[in-house]
């Protein structure tokens, strides 16, 4: 499967009467975006209002509580459209040509449950920990109608964010990209014939699927209800996998992470050079132990069936997923396939405790995304987009987190993407 990505560099966002992308600037009329977002019946029924704001790198701005981050993209050639099965029809994506508005994101915010949604600081020490401080962010703060249940609110904000990103992405349809890259994977036999001497490598991509408010969707299907299966990496670039979870901010895989998965990017970088990138294997992280057994059995079985030499395994979340991570790794290794895992750590505030809730001697190649228990002080910002009244309740925050002078003392857990388990961050250890 072959996908061409055309990157349109966005260097500024401005509110305007007209919506367009011109000379690298996104001009956007918030009323038009809102009108498009509210065409959806669920959004209309669940949200009272959506307010837009712009946050730029270096500004004294704090966005919180962040729900999702989404990169605007538009399919310009070939089958399907962005976010298949949710926004576009369910046609298979991952081939043809897609335009990407690079350097910006749509960020959704709203207090869905009284904890967990994270912080993005656009400047100061907190900005160093989140990749989203480097982007121009079009922020949509979603306000629920009175009496709305949390899971309905989550659904509405999820759809609203995807619709806003779809609207903005569409503005890039007729814009000439600044850069174009081609990504291609091969059929099993074709790949073997083309690169007979290269090691066959796949990416085992574990999807958060523990239950309501902790979900991931693949072509619109709740991953909790899926068997472990194969997906082309280019499909994820077209939004085949979207985030629907409210796990702690630091290791939440946002939709932006799925679209720009760094494991996929790095494997493509080496594809045809030091390895043959065969495919992605997606598997879930269910709470029921029998589901874990079934899913990890299938992961190992597919690794063998594909005659792989090695895999990279990434997880999402802490605790329960650690068990899936170790079960997958152990069973894949027992098939004779080498593994490297990517995780983050909950090693206590002093960093001295056991990092994961599970372990096995066969899981001996580990890349860490950092210690989520590390304590950090975030200075007061001049402007807050969203609301701060939940800061002392979000994951990693605690009583007194929000001090009277506006500074926040909390664990790294509060920062969106700080210890991302795909490695989409700057923290690690040797």
């Amino acid at each position: 499967m072959k996908l061409e990505l055309g990157f349109i560099e966005i260097s500024d966002i401005q509110f305007s009467k007209e919506c367009k992308v011109e000379n690298g600037t996104l001009f956007v009329n918030p009323d038009e975006v809102k009108a498009f977002v509210f065409q959806d019946d669920d959004v209309k029924a669940c949200l009272k209002d959506a307010c837009f704001d712009i946050a730029k790198p270096g500004e004294s701005v704090r966005i919180t509580p962040v729900k999702d981050v989404i990169e605007p993209r538009v399919k310009v050639e070939g089958p399907g459209g962005e976010f298949p099965g949710v926004i576009a029809k369910v046609d298979t994506v991952g081939s043809g040509k897609t335009h990407v508005l690079r350097g910006m994101a749509v960020v959704t915010a709203g207090k869905i449950v009284g904890f967990q949604e994270g912080i993005i600081d656009m400047s100061g020490p907190g900005a160093e920990y989140t990749p989203f401080s480097k982007l121009l962010n079009l922020v949509m703060v979603c306000e629920p109608v009175d009496g709305l249940k949390q899971h309905e609110y989550e659904h509405a904000v999820r759809i609203a964010g995807l619709r806003a990103a779809t609207f903005v992405g569409e503005l890039g349809r007729n814009v000439e990209p600044n850069e174009t890259k081609v990504f291609e994977t091969y059929g099993i036999k074709e790949g073997m014939q083309k690169y007979p001497d290269l090691p066959r490598v796949a990416y085992v991509h574990m999807l958060q699927s523990q239950g309501l408010l902790h979900d991931t969707y693949v072509y619109g299907v709740d991953a909790k209800r899926t068997l472990t299966t194969i997906i082309n990496p280019t499909e994820t670039m077209d939004g085949a996998i979207i985030s629907g979870n409210c796990v702690s901010a630091c290791d939440k895989n946002t939709t932006y992470h799925h679209q720009n998965n760094p494991v996929v990017a790095d494997l493509f970088e080496q594809h045809g050079k030091s390895l043959l990138y065969v495919c992605n294997i997606i598997t879930n992280e269910n709470v029921y132990l029998a589901d874990k057994q079934r899913s990890s059995d299938w992961t190992a079985k597919l690794c063998r069936l594909l005659d792989l030499d090695g895999v990279i395994v990434s997880q999402e979340g802490f605790g329960n997923p650690d068990t899936d991570l170790i079960m997958n790794t152990k069973k894949i290794e027992l098939q004779g396939v080498k593994t490297t895992i990517i995780t983050d750590e909950y090693a206590g505030q002093d960093g001295k405790s056991q990092s994961l809730a599970d372990a096995d001697p066969l899981a001996d190649a580990v890349v860490t995304g950092g210690n989520a228990n590390e304590v950090i002080i975030l200075p007061k910002m001049d402007k807050v987009i969203g609301m701060l009244d939940y800061v002392d309740k979000i994951a990693g925050g605690h009583a007194g987190s929000l001090r009277p002078d506006g500074t926040i003392e909390a664990e790294l857990q509060v920062i969106t993407g700080a210890t991302n388990e795909m490695g989409f961050n700057r923290l690690s250890a040797r």
């Binding site: 967990q116 309501l212 290791d251 709470v287 029921y288 605790g319 599970d358």
Partner: protein, 135 residues
């Protein structure tokens, strides 16, 4: 076939939504106490059905925990015993917080624990909540 589930919980919402359909051992105790109770039963040979650290809400944030084990002992599983003892150790490494929980926050934490449990036992969480709202 009769369900072999025994739900160990300190979450009152679980009792309200599920008591008609499931055997529930509710106790007004702490998160760690629920883990220890589950661990001890698994040590005695009860089957562990749901992961004790379900949800990415950390043990020192939420006061609520529900774990499903078998009603009666079956065969002792060293793997499951290890999962349970690791869970208690994982709990102990989080710094305790003396946080005041508002009623709204308690409700949110109860809901999260309840929905994670429902995901584990394949019960329709939304349907359970709707039935609760009916007079």
């Amino acid at each position: 076939m009769e369900r072999d589930y025994l739900i160990l919980t300190n979450n009152p919402l679980v009792v309200r939504c599920l008591e008609k359909w499931y055997d529930i051992a509710y106790e007004d105790v702490g998160y760690r106490d629920v883990l220890v109770k589950a661990r001890d039963l698994v040590y005695l040979g009860h089957t562990l059905y749901t992961h004790p650290l379900s949800g990415s809400v950390k043990p020192n944030e939420t006061p609520y925990k529900s774990v499903v084990v078998s009603k009666v002992p079956h065969t002792f599983s060293p793997e499951q015993a290890e999962i349970m003892s690791n869970a208690v150790m994982a709990f102990d490494k989080f710094t305790p917080r003396n946080r005041v929980l508002t009623d709204k926050l308690r409700e949110d934490f109860q809901l999260i624990d309840y929905t994670l449990l429902c995901g584990g036992i394949d019960f329709d969480a939304v349907a359970g909540l709707s039935m609760l709202q009916q007079p």
